[in-house]
């Protein structure tokens, strides 16, 4: 059922041109509307503020709960971003416009996935200084940035596939997290544990197994989601 091409037939955009075209389109739209990054940053800052309200301000306690709080805020932000990424395709039948294009569905997947990844990353880059300031934690930790980039990519891999499904279902806003959280659970656990290790001042070797687990998740699900994307979007 995969989409074969005939030799000599007119071809669509080359793979990188198609991915870049979708990505460029999403970035341009976002720069116009600010419907994803701005509201989600505000939402995430609120989550951090609420955490500081409900958590005991004892510095030793903060150190143990801060990694969890950070990843709760990031996953909620991620879910909101993923919901928006496909809602905007749905509004004027944009998704069908994409589907009419003679490019492989896996390329559409990578275009949408990279867009979702970048939006989440931008939100996190804005949030992290605020988070570090509120909880009095170090900001410049290369290990932490590595964990954030890899985990966010992992969220985007499965999240994009599930968002493309959820957008066509009833109760889509609630269905996306219900689909997303169990599958992304290992990434959430690994990211929180690695963050805890970074804040505790451990060396990279102490949490490299978590980084490896997230990286493996990224690779496996980028491939699986790209390969199955045509079954999600093609009627």
């Amino acid at each position: 059922m995969s989409e074969q091409r005939a030799p000599g037939a007119p071809t669509g955009a080359s793979w990188w041109a198609a991915i870049l075209a979708v990505l460029w389109k999403d970035l341009l739209l976002e720069s116009r509307t600010r419907e994803i990054v701005t509201p989600i940053v505000v939402f995430s800052l609120l989550v951090i503020v609420i955490f500081s309200f409900v958590l005991d301000p004892n510095p030793r306690l903060i150190e143990s709960v801060a990694p969890g709080a950070l990843w709760v805020a990031f996953t909620f932000a991620g879910i909101l971003g993923l919901n928006r990424a496909f809602a905007l395709e749905k509004e004027r039948g944009g998704m069908e416009g994409l589907l009419l294009s003679p490019v492989g569905r896996d390329l559409l997947y990578f275009g949408k996935m990279l867009g979702a990844f970048l939006f989440m990353l931008v939100v996190e880059i804005i949030m992290l200084p605020a988070f570090s300031a509120v909880f009095n934690l170090p900001l410049v930790e290369p290990g932490l940035w590595l964990v954030i980039v890899l985990a966010t990519f992992g969220f985007a891999t499965v999240g994009t596939a599930f968002a493309a499904m959820a957008v066509n279902t009833r109760a889509r806003e609630i269905l996306l997290p219900v689909l997303f959280f169990p599958v992304a659970a290992p990434v959430i656990i690994a990211a929180a544990e690695a963050t805890r290790a970074v804040y505790a001042g451990d060396s990279f070797a102490d949490y490299s197994n978590w980084v490896g687990l997230i990286a493996a998740f990224d690779v496996i699900f980028a491939v699986v989601a790209a390969a199955t994307f045509e079954f999600i979007v093609n009627e």
């Binding site: 091409r5 669509g12 116009r32 944009g94 589907l99 294009s101």
Partner: protein
């Protein structure tokens, strides 16, 4: 572009949504240089047929070839050959007309000539003045023209237009008729679904009626016989036009 194969060849085409059958063994053949006006009551399967031809919907039974390409295995290639206008514009509201057209041109692999293609498609439909306006700010008629420009951007030999007259003003309708006439002269084909009898019979050289997921009537179109056609339509569908 026209090949020795017919533009469309569908045999026993079937499509179910859930358990509801919409197309029930539809047969249709369309040669090159021909425009087919397709009439039918709501729910008869017009839109589903066009969506299946466009590769947006996978058929559940029968055989379908676009220019000889079996669409079940060669959907990516078949997508090059069709230009589609549906009720939705498939345009992004917050991008300008030019940006939308350039985006779709790039998706069709027209990277180097994307801007040029976008401009020429827009010019043919009288969109020059609004190229840099966001789609959101345009009137419905202008949006529809932009959707038409998007559909013809990659110069597809087969056009599928689902009730293109909705939202089009007089001028735009004239532009569409001219576009279709040029398309046909160049050897291209089109299927146009419509509710307007006179208009449909004028732009087409063939008229068909779809009812209950099958082609119930199919004959050369004659614009002078609109009343006859209305009578035929009532006979075949039990509805009126």
């Amino acid at each position: 572009m026209a090949s020795t194969h017919p533009a469309i060849s569908a045999a026993g085409l079937a499509k179910r949504f859930g358990n509801r059958p919409v197309l029930r063994g539809l047969d249709l053949e369309l040669g090159w240089g021909s425009v087919l006006a397709l009439f039918g009551p709501n729910g008869a399967g017009k839109t589903t047929l066009l969506r299946t031809l466009a590769g947006l919907t996978r058929h559940s039974g029968g055989a379908l070839r676009i220019a000889g390409l079996d669409i079940a295995g060669r959907r990516a290639d078949a997508r090059h050959l069709v230009g589609v206008v549906m009720h939705q514009t498939f345009l992004y509201d917050d991008l300008t007309v030019a940006e939308n057209l350039r985006f779709y041109a790039r998706m069709h692999g027209l990277g180097a000539t994307a801007a040029e293609r976008a401009a020429s498609a827009a010019g043919a439909l009288g969109l020059d003045a609004v190229m840099n306006a966001r789609v959101r700010t345009l009137s419905n008629g202008m949006q529809k023209r932009a959707a038409l420009a998007r559909a013809v951007l990659h110069r597809p030999p087969l056009l599928l237009l689902d009730e293109p007259e909705t939202g089009l003003d007089q001028d735009a309708m004239l532009a569409l008729e001219q576009l279709l006439a040029r398309h046909r002269e160049a050897g291209g084909s089109a299927i146009v679904t419509t509710h307007g009898v006179e208009q449909g019979l004028r732009i087409a050289d063939r008229a068909a009626i779809i009812h209950n997921g099958r082609i119930a009537y199919d004959a050369p179109a004659d614009a002078s016989d609109a009343d006859d056609f209305r009578r035929l339509y009532a006979e075949h569908t039990g509805a009126s036009l």
